[in-house]
Subunit: 359 residues, 2 copies
């Protein structure tokens, strides 16, 4: 098809306290004897305010996962194997509760319960052939757009790349802004900036159409309200960041991210840099490509008193630079979106090396 | 549930020329021997530019329907009965091609092929119990939001009211802005104003939350671009009106329309006034309820040289006024959204009569 037939999340509930409806939402989907598996960010371990409200029944199980590292194919495969070993039946569903990392794990595990082999085999575009098990996304931090996107970004043995497919999006999303309570300031900033940055990349990209533009513009407006106009995080900020992330994710439907994401994937692959902070480190140096966006970004950095880490690359070897450059260059659609089909005229290995050296 | 678990259209394609992908979109859904039925606005009869591109196969059938009148339960039931008589199997799907009227017919017929009785039995909220047949919406004029909403508004023997249900939304929407070519100026204005007016009603309503607000605001921004900033209809206007309608429809997810729609339903029930023009006739007199919206609306009316019809009600009998007032008053959620739970303090029969007398 010339134009993508975009899969939207078919069910969404939005509301402060809507997490309490989870039992009611899951009940019609429960298959006799087949458990729901809740993948939960381990920062919530022992925090009864959230955990006690997870509606466990029968053989349902919570698996805590650390979001300290970016999601990896090897962990996805491991979680899938553990579930298969423990349960005789395919689960009724997988529910991811956390930030982008947990949401990506939930999407990937749901797909790997019905598709053979390793998740690394499916890093790319439209390689997934079978519908996954029912999967639900419940963000507890917003910005990445993982709750609405058709990808789940994984670091594999050879690359950092998403499983982009029509089967990837969640079957159900629960948007409860009260779950954003208590997020550390840095994480609030970096994750929100992921949203801001991918909107800038989408809106200035060559792939853009009116569908993606309208979502991207609204997302950007909301990011500006949250990060430029407001002086503190209140309920209204939480509501708006949640919607900024949602619309920002939708804006990728007929668009792509760009230079910041391509280079940030390199950093992340080599150094394990988390996605949000990695994007900020890269975007801070991209005035040449996104002059207005970077200027506004620097205002937000200053307003929130954030220190963007510097000097990550100062002691790297040639081989390490080459690894990052290889990962970045492999993301062809991102470069094409950012700079058009002749992107290779601008983006040479030397150019990328000189840019990475600034970070 | 306290918060509605909103059903979104699970598949959407957007793009100028995307109508040509229809065969490819329908192919995986086709059931052996079961036809697709295309409900097409009869203004396209004989217009090969559109009709020749409808991908008919086997027993597939086009049924032309006039959009001169608002959709009626009796016609929905009739189309359903005709399909059942002609075909031994339930159709593979129903495809609506046209404006809000045709989209509403497609949704209603799809539901009535699997739900017993008359469509009039299902006018209300969540009365539909069985999933309908697969249904596709392809707007050829945008504004009503019918392509994305969970209602299909019908005039029945007793009321004008939608079949609001989780089964109502389309399974697939094709947004091809080039299909908006050649719309008469008046229709372009009135249908677009339906969007503008329901955004004003949604954004000023008491039901609003951040989800609906973000969609409503974006829709309103786009309406302003199309109807205030631009001097002629170009491709960009078509793209943007299509997205305004889409986002405007989404803004109703956790909101409602208000005074204009409630009173316009009365006009439409009694006099058969078409929805878009009816909303304009009513809204023009609603400065008391929506002062800023009505002011901006009047600017758009003036800019586009539109004559809003007046004097529709001047020769009506007491009984006719009573009929309109009964229909309007029956729409409790609309009044509650507009004016809060004590709306009956403001909205009396006398008040409505005096307002209708101005129209």
């Amino acid at each position: 098809m010339s134009f993508r037939n975009f899969p939207m999340v078919p069910r969404v509930v939005f509301g402060r306290g809507s997490f309490n409806q989870l039992a009611e939402i899951l009940e019609p989907v429960r298959k006799n004897g087949a458990p729901f598996i809740f993948l939960v960010d381990d920062v919530f371990k022992g925090k009864s305010s959230l955990v006690s409200r997870i509606p466990l029944q029968g053989k349902d199980k919570i698996i805590y996962i650390s979001a300290e590292e970016e999601p990896k194919t090897i962990y996805v495969d491991g979680i899938r194997d553990d579930i298969n070993k423990e349960f005789e039946t395919v689960p009724s569903g997988i529910i991811g509760i956390g930030g982008g990392t947990l949401l990506d794990y939930a999407k990937a595990v749901a797909l790997m319960l019905t598709n053979p082999g390793s998740s690394a085999d499916y890093q790319g575009w439209d390689l997934v052939k079978e519908q996954g098990v029912y999967h639900v996304g419940i963000p507890t931090i917003s910005g990445t757009g993982a709750e609405v996107s058709r990808t789940t970004v994984l670091t594999g043995p050879e690359r950092k790349l998403g499983m982009n497919s029509d089967y990837t999006p969640f079957d159900q999303v629960v948007l409860d802004p009260s779950l954003l309570d208590g997020i550390p300031t840095n994480q609030w900033f970096y994750t929100g900036m992921d949203c801001y940055i991918h909107c800038i990349e989408s809106l200035t990209g060559t792939y853009l159409n009116a569908f993606s533009q309208s979502y991207g513009e609204k997302s950007l407006d909301l990011c500006r309200e949250v990060y430029l106009e407001k002086d503190s995080i209140d309920e209204d900020s939480q509501d708006k960041l949640m919607m900024a992330s949602w619309h920002g994710g939708m804006s990728i439907a007929y668009s792509q991210v760009g230079v910041a994401h391509a280079m940030s994937y390199g950093l992340s692959y080599l150094l394990g840099t988390k996605h949000g902070i990695g994007n900020c480190i890269v975007f801070d140096q991209l005035e040449e490509f996104y002059p207005e966006g970077v200027k506004e970004f620097k205002q937000m950095v200053e307003k929130h008193g954030i220190d963007i880490p510097k000097g990550l690359c100062k002691d790297l070897s040639d081989e390490q630079f080459d690894t990052m450059i290889d990962v970045a260059l492999s993301l062809v659609p991102l470069w094409e979106n950012a700079l058009g089909s002749d992107w290779q005229k601008t983006i040479t290995r030397e150019k990328l090396r000189s840019m990475y050296e600034l970070m």
